[in-house]
Symmetry: C2
Subunit: 203 residues, 2 copies
Amino acid sequence: MKNSAPGALQQLIDALRVLPGVGPKSAQRIAYHLLQHDRPGAQRLGDALLGSIATVQHCERCNNFTEQPVCETCLDPERDTSLLCVVETPADQVMVEQTMTYRGQYFVLMGKLSPLDGVGPREIHLDRLLRRVVDPAFGGVSEVILATNFTNEGEATAHYIGEMLKARGVKVSRLARGVPAGGELEYVDAGTIARAVLDRRAV
Amino acid sequence: MKNSAPGALQQLIDALRVLPGVGPKSAQRIAYHLLQHDRPGAQRLGDALLGSIATVQHCERCNNFTEQPVCETCLDPERDTSLLCVVETPADQVMVEQTMTYRGQYFVLMGKLSPLDGVGPREIHLDRLLRRVVDPAFGGVSEVILATNFTNEGEATAHYIGEMLKARGVKVSRLARGVPAGGELEYVDAGTIARAVLDRRAV
């Protein structure tokens, strides 16, 4: 059937491999599943893919995905424009939003510094971040909160941005590290406890 | 961001959940990945989905996917029309083809009998299979080889089809069971060895 596979079916199987983690076998299984059991779902997915490519762009201010030039979060008049939280991805922004503790604005890097993968300051739009922070047209930022991940690359990204902004005299902070909520010391790794001891706070 | 997510992006995230095994978190990750890193791939996938829905149908004879009324395998003049191999899925047909030992024709059930899931003889097109076997217009079938899986449901399906066809005087056979190629007895399950002993052949 390698040769006799219909063109459109083979194209679908090949195209499905753009999905992360989908190899040839899974692609075949997904294609058969959609054509046999869920054509309406496949139609919705096809429409959604083409629709989102056509309309979803990056927000001019925060770099997050949006269908307008500037996203709703950046236009929200109730947000504190003097606070700017820097996150790696839109998903990270969602997590910070869900805490309900932050009402400032955001800048989404859409990545992290990773020189080995060819991702440098330009690829994560640090020039735009700098302009966003120092240009008074954006309302004036008094503090930048670095909320990149606590992985090696996230830490390196935070360090780089921190140095860049401090050189301009901007106040920069980093999310606190320590024992997670509900954490039992017995099961928390030593590095985390070490950091929690160093960063202990008066009560 | 739950509220501020752009409509097209949220629609894409929702639509991605038609893919088997994709939950809300993975759907979000896939959507961000495609929009950020692989828009051409997303375009190809969208086109392929809509294209295949529009063109891929079932072969009138063998029920496999095809873009023509009758598929290339069924039209191949070099195939033995007196042999018909019944498989559960197009992927199973591919596996039988890859053995290079079978040059007859196929019938693809696109499923297996599974009464608990509401899949009965009508859902796996046994009426069409019967017509395909007994109607002389299709060239006359002398033997039907049942190549459904050796699972409980596959075995039940084979048994049902076997009884149905034998009642019409059709010769029916089933794939041999036994120790797999390269199999070591120590690591093969007892049921397989028991069947291999029962079905032992003279040398």
